[in-house]
């Protein structure tokens, strides 16, 4: 997963967290995609998955706190996007455990997560930066 400087919002804490999030998702995808047999990488997959899951929650929480501080008008809608994602991650994680650590489910999950996160950081989170810069929320 490739971090780009244009993703920066200009808020140090959030920018650092976004970069960390990209690193964690990259680690997860890298382990998941390696050519080692599934039985040999499942433990490492689970470990990186857990790191990433916790980090997503921490980051969303801090980002929401920041949005509240600056009086971001789209706070509720943005928080809902976060909540929906956390819910999706939790659902996948519990199904993954129930199914006894099935590789196919993880591959599907990681593909979606990759695209979702890039769009979220490159698009949704940028609206917050636009608001700070211009004092208005812009429609796409």
């Amino acid at each position: 997963m490739i971090w780009k400087d244009r993703y920066k919002l200009g808020v140090t804490l959030i920018d650092e967290q976004h970069q960390e999030l990209f690193t964690r998702v990259s680690d997860f995808v890298e382990v998941l995609r390696s050519s080692v047999p599934w039985e040999q990488r499942v433990e490492k997959v689970n470990e990186t998955l857990n790191f990433m899951k916790d980090y997503v929650v921490t980051h969303f929480h801090d980002e929401e706190k920041y949005q509240k501080q600056i009086g971001y008008p789209e706070f509720a809608a943005h928080k809902k996007i976060h909540n929906d994602m956390v819910k999706y991650v939790a659902e996948v994680a519990s199904q993954y455990e129930r199914d006894g650590y099935n590789e196919q489910l993880m591959q599907q999950f990681a593909g979606k997560l990759l695209a979702w996160l890039i769009n979220h950081v490159a698009s949704e989170d940028q609206k917050v930066a636009d608001f700070v810069r211009k004092g208005v929320v812009e429609d796409e």
Binding site: I2, Q107, Q108, G111, K112, L114, N119
Partner: protein, 154 residues
């Protein structure tokens, strides 16, 4: 025959490709039957549309274009279409379609989309007659993506 969703889908696709994949050289042309190449395997993703407008849009991502897209996002090499690739492209189709719905809601047209559905076949055959059926080929530096927009305005 002017499909009201043709322009919104082109604009949304162009914006998402630019934002997520850094593709800036993007153009469109109406899709004619002769343009549909059967040789290259494709990922076909259907997204249903419900509400004020009813129908579906089907995205056709050729194999090489798909692999290149996932490579741009992940920074990793992909050689085959698999669950990871299909799911990532399903999410891109979901994002584009969701953005179109947001644009429509500004115009007081209220629609929702259904979750991406992966089709095994090209999925262009519909039994029901729709008011609008248009195809669009979106050309980029990493290949072209075809969209079929099938719609009833009630």
């Amino acid at each position: 025959m002017n499909n009201p969703l043709y322009a919104p889908f082109f604009n949304a696709t162009r914006d998402v490709f630019k934002l997520m994949l850094d593709l800036s050289n993007i153009s469109d042309k109406p899709l004619l039957d002769k343009d549909v190449s059967a040789q290259d395997s494709k990922i076909n993703i259907e997204i249903g549309i419900i509400g004020d407008l009813q129908g579906k849009v089907i995205y056709h991502f050729p194999k090489q274009t798909s692999l290149e897209m996932v490579k741009i996002m992940s920074g990793m090499e992909f050689s085959e279409i698999d669950d990871f690739v299909t799911s990532a492209l399903g999410e891109i189709a979901n994002i584009i379609s969701g953005n179109v719905m947001s644009t429509l809601s500004v115009q007081k047209i209220s629609c929702d989309i259904l979750s991406p559905h992966i089709l095994n076949e090209t999925g262009d055959t519909t039994e029901i007659n729709y008011e609008f059926e248009s195809g669009m080929q979106i050309c980029t530096d990493i290949g072209s993506v075809d969209l079929n927009i099938i719609l009833n305005t009630k």
